[in-house]
Symmetry: D2
Subunit: 155 residues, 4 copies
């Protein structure tokens, strides 16, 4: 879009470690073999290598799996900006699937649009990467709620 | 809602068999151990037993997995009403997560709201069932596109 | 959907009067000549007579106007369930347009799906009524936030 | 987002004139006094000066009106890329309201994300401009359908 990108200041220095610890507890991410590739203030990337176990009936990666990594990337992008003693939960998201998820890997990029105290509005884009060609295969718009005083259960 | 439920007439007698064959090809559904429990005209149910491999960091079933079965239930509900020589794809969906997916199993109910020739509008509800108590944990609104003359690849 | 409808208990006896006073302050509703027809606990109806000033290029009522009354009906449905000292605001909504809004009047029905303390999830349906034939022309799913201690500015 | 902006090639040289003629037929846009300020390939801006007739109960511009101009800006952005003999209709959109629409005017920017033949995926941002300060007050993600061979009724 034609406006400057916002720059975010995390409220918790340990944001990256905190997000990584939470991600590691998500067994569903382990099941699909998703990787937390980038954790910056207000921005998170999740990478997902292709494997046949996560495909749909045409052999492409399942749209539901695309939604999973989009939801997680944007949700954790929000989580980088919440205080140390807060956890986040997804209120809702809306996902458009633009092209088959056809690639050796998917890259989901989540970013915060507006970091409110209670609600954080985010968006995500998912690319299918095939022979280093990037195809935008999904876009998402999402609402995240910060639960203050409810630290993530880690360890 | 306060209006009569529509009754749908399938355009393909073999709709249930066709939907089941397509579902069986979705390896992602096998991975999470989802079951296609009901296939009626304009209505599909997917059941998902709890297992730790599909949980998030608090031990509940992952919101992305909830989205997967909601998306599939509503998409296949649309698929029951398309002709034999058509396949369907998800254009987009919007999912609200209402409560933690805390239960021994999830039940996703997808139904068609409006069956157009090219676009079918659907919705889904997902319940978490715990000690036979049903809790509504997600609602979804979805747009499905019918691809005429593009039969599902089955077998 | 195939589950029992919830029955809602308002937390403020004066809910109907409060909602009506707020609606009357919305000059945009006066501009399009929308009427607040029903105010029940968790359920609100807005009626909108046809007039050429609210049409789009094909002579039907503008989709944006359909969205306005869907948003308001569902938002006020939420507002019937909030305490007297709270105001509500729309966090987000998702609207599917199913058919042209072709009728002598539109009827928007908003209802609460889940009344949380901070967030209320709602949905709406909009019907076009022509020669007493009802056509479902839009469905909406919405998130409403209750602002506690921030009474609506009335009078 | 961190990828290059696409550049769009209109399929109809007369796209701007065609879009302007359609906009001028929307009486609902005249009613709220919205202006079609920019018409580029894949990009449209609508400006809306403040007036009390379009406000909600707190004196800000009504969220439904914000939705109207977001929907129109993105829908016409799609329309710039369709052939001369096609019309467009909104399948659905999802709008997040981020801040009160508090300003002397609103600026809605619609742009195409993916221009398919049948479906075009778009997004919009709406800014409130007050003393030349721009505040992002809404973001929208939308699906548009092109109706080929159904020319807009103009004149």
């Amino acid at each position: 879009m034609r406006h400057e990108e916002p720059v975010f200041q995390p409220r918790d220095e340990g944001y990256a470690e905190r997000v990584r610890a939470s991600f590691d507890l998500q067994q569903a991410m382990t099941l699909i073999e998703a990787e937390l590739a980038v954790v910056d203030p207000g921005y998170v990337e999740i990478h997902l290598p292709y494997k046949s176990q996560i495909t749909q009936q045409h052999g492409f990666i399942h749209g539901g799996v695309v939604g999973m990594i989009a939801d997680s990337a944007a949700g954790y992008a929000a989580n980088t900006l919440t205080p140390a003693d807060a956890s986040v939960l997804t209120v809702e998201y809306k996902l458009n699937l633009l092209a088959p998820a056809d690639g050796e890997r998917l890259v989901a990029r989540g970013e915060v649009i507006k970091p409110g105290r209670t609600l954080l509005i985010t968006r995500a884009e998912v690319f299918a990467v095939k022979h280093e060609q990037w195809t935008l295969c999904a876009v998402m718009q999402q609402t995240i709620m910060a639960m203050h005083g409810k630290k993530e259960r880690v360890g």
